[in-house]
């Protein structure tokens, strides 16, 4: 989901990854020998952040995947074989992600279900593509992933463009007249801010009073807060991550800002509210795909998850759970562990029930509707405000 690195670096990392894959052709073809073959367990790989600042979300994802795998195995597995889970840590870092992807490939992965930080996911695409391993990406959603136009890549999270569209739709609906767009200078965040700006200008009626960036990882955002209070917009749209988001909300309120605040999906986390402190975050809106809390009928699922892992599910638990189920479905439909057949089965899926609704991929292998909705912080929790339908 998040592209935490500058574009130039991402491109460099892709190049490096490409070189690594060509250079290590021996390793990759060697990998086929330990691939899942026709007997033994079917390996499901996930390159996700299990350390670093995105580790909490990575853990939510891993648990969601583990839950789906255990459920499927309890029912007898797929094609009469058990599923084996192979989570690999990428720490939201492109270099580590490329190494983790190579490791997953040589471990004999049949399907990859990982991908959270877009910046780290991007360099893994050519590695899995070369090994012809289908990728079901549950969280990463930068437009750049789609732009690679790789046949093996499927995104089951809404994309950045869909998120911007949802944001603009809500701004118009809410009667906002001027907006300040603030991003954290990373590609994921800048993508949404730039796309929102473009959409707003195309639609007309809402003025972009300020478009600016901050440096992630700092504590003091008084300078951007000063710029915002100077421009005095009706709404601030923050497209970065929750750590900085919480601080910015806190500092905006302390500086006496009275307008509305909206945040993008990277900021939807209970910590945002805690960091903002007190009741500062009350009334803050968010553009977000469905979370376990906002999905109707997910109560039993949440209870099962909580019982199994001792803590409640978080963002992307459901998408990750769905990614594994989708992988199992595709393998069953393909009646094979052959990459091409699974890819064809994925592309042909129509109406498979996910938490976000029945699934059918667009020709670009994205969801036909992003499923973005507007949440609001009420009594210290993100609750559904408007499903935009």
């Amino acid at each position: 989901m998040k592209l935490r690195i500058p574009k130039v670096l991402a491109v460099g990392a892709v190049a490096a990854a490409l070189m690594a894959t060509t250079g290590c052709g021996g390793i990759l073809s060697g990998g086929d020998e330990n691939a899942s073959g026709d007997s033994g367990p079917i390996k499901i790989a996930a390159v996700i952040p299990l350390s670093g600042s995105s580790a909490p979300t990575g853990t939510y994802m891993k648990n969601g995947m583990q839950m789906a795998i255990d459920e499927i195995n309890a029912k007898g597995g797929v094609l009469g074989r058990q599923l084996q889970f192979d989570p690999e840590d990428e720490a939201c870092d492109p270099t580590q992600a490329a190494a983790a992807a190579n490791k997953a490939v040589s471990n004999g992965a049949v399907v990859s279900v990982g991908g959270y930080c877009s910046g780290a996911t991007l360099p893994t695409l050519p590695i899995f593509a070369k090994a012809n391993i289908p990728m079901i990406i549950p969280a990463a959603n930068s437009q750049e992933l789609v732009n690679q136009k790789l046949p093996n890549v499927f995104l089951i999270n809404g994309t950045g463009a869909q998120q911007s569209a949802a944001a603009v739709k809500f701004m118009a609906k809410d009667g906002v007249k001027s907006v300040a767009l603030v991003d954290d200078n990373t590609s994921y965040s800048k993508d949404i801010a730039a796309q929102t700006k473009k959409d707003l200008e195309a639609a007309g009626g809402i003025k972009v009073a300020l478009a600016t960036s901050v440096t992630a990882g700092e504590s003091d955002y008084s300078s951007v807060v000063h710029d915002i209070t100077g421009a005095n917009p009706d709404m601030v749209y923050w497209t970065g991550y929750y750590q900085e988001g919480g601080l910015i909300i806190n500092q905006l309120k302390a500086a006496g800002f009275k307008g509305k605040i909206m945040v993008a999906d990277g900021s939807v986390d209970a910590s945002l509210i805690e960091i903002a402190g007190g009741t500062s975050a009350e009334g803050v809106f968010a553009t977000m795909t469905q979370t376990p809390d906002t999905i109707k009928g997910a109560e039993t699922w949440i209870a099962d998850y909580t019982k199994k892992f001792g803590s409640a599910p978080g963002p992307y638990s459901t998408q990750s759970y769905d990614a594994v189920r989708l992988a199992a479905e595709a393998i069953t439909k393909a009646d094979s562990t052959d990459g091409d057949k699974i890819i064809a089965a994925l592309a042909a899926i129509d109406g498979f029930e996910l938490f976000s609704g029945p699934l059918k991929f667009t020709p670009e292998h994205t969801l036909s509707s992003g499923g973005f909705q507007i949440l609001v912080v009420k009594d210290g929790k993100f609750t559904l405000h408007d499903d935009l339908s």
């Binding site: 600042s53 600016t212 901050v214 440096t215 504590s219 302390a254 006496g256 910590s271 402190g277």
Partner: protein
């Protein structure tokens, strides 16, 4: 305008507190202690641990509690700084400069990921948050906690300055900065003075960490990274090795950031700030007060 000035000075005083430790250590043993920013992080976590173990603190007591925690944290983080010097830097005294530099980088990672392993990678919310009334001073919005923190920072810096100028330990520090071998021959216990320097520098960084935690409300294991780099920059602008220069450099960096963001927009702030620095150092490589090299520290 006054708001920008105030914002710049406030952030700058944090940079200055951390820059002091960088500058002192460099002045004495010519080591760029890259683990210094992480002592700021460690200070924040020590303060966090102490405040959370106390339990709920009534709002009226929060300032008193914070001051006590501040003092204790300074002692503990000072001790940790001394420990790092003892374990990582002292055995390498006399080895090539690069080896020690890399050790410092290693110490930095050890602290960061050590804390991440113990306290977890998630950001923590500080148990006490300083939020108070705001006043209007000459058109700038200034809050009570900001004033309290500024006063603490200035007091710490002033007492450090007079300590170095007036006490025999301070004199010993200045002597070692001037000529370590000569000082040894004159009967100064060089190791003791270096230990003491690390203690003071680390204690100041720890204090800044607690203050940042209490004011901004969020701490995480990587919080020392960027501010460490900024403080290093501040120390260099001020003339590394020079105490007053470090203070001045910190304030100047804060002001540059505030005005850069206002003039060119947030995305250009760091470009502006560091372009000015490059230009400045090209014209005056010794930094603001670096010329008085006769007496470093």
């Amino acid at each position: 305008m006054t708001q920008l000035l105030w914002n710049g000075l406030f952030v700058g005083s944090f940079y200055a507190l951390i820059a002091l430790g960088y500058s002192m250590v460099y002045g004495i043993i010519k080591l760029l202690n890259f683990a210094h920013g992480d002592l700021y992080m460690l200070g924040a976590f020590i303060g966090y641990a102490m405040l959370s173990s106390v339990g709920v603190i009534p709002a009226s007591m929060s300032i008193t509690a914070l001051l006590i925690v501040l003092l204790l944290t300074m002692i503990i983080s000072g001790g940790i700084g001394v420990g790092i010097e003892r374990l990582a830097y002292r055995p390498l005294r006399g080895s090539p400069r690069l080896a020690v530099l890399i050790t410092a980088v290693g110490a930095s990672f050890t602290l960061e990921y050590g804390v991440s392993a113990i306290a977890g990678p998630n950001p923590r919310v500080f148990p006490v948050r300083l939020q108070g009334e705001t006043f209007d001073i000459l058109g700038a919005r200034v809050s009570a906690p900001q004033i309290v923190l500024m006063v603490i920072a200035v007091l710490l810096m002033l007492s450090l300055n007079s300590y170095i100028q007036r006490t025999s330990m301070g004199r010993a520090m200045r002597a070692i900065a001037l000529d370590p071998k000569g000082s040894l021959l004159m009967g100064i216990n060089v190791n003791k003075v270096i230990t003491w320097t690390f203690f003071i520098g680390s204690a100041l960084a720890g204090a800044a960490g607690v203050m940042a935690g209490a004011y901004y409300g969020k701490i995480d294991f990587l919080m020392g990274f960027i501010i460490g780099l900024k403080a290093f920059t501040a120390a260099v602008i001020g003339g590394i090795g020079n105490i007053k220069g470090a203070m001045l450099g910190g304030l100047l960096l804060g002001l540059l950031e505030a005005f850069g963001s206002q003039w060119l927009g947030g995305e250009w702030r760091d470009v502006f700030t560091f372009a000015v620095l490059i230009a400045f150092l090209t014209l005056k490589p010794t930094g603001l007060l670096g010329e008085r090299v006769t007496e470093r520290v």
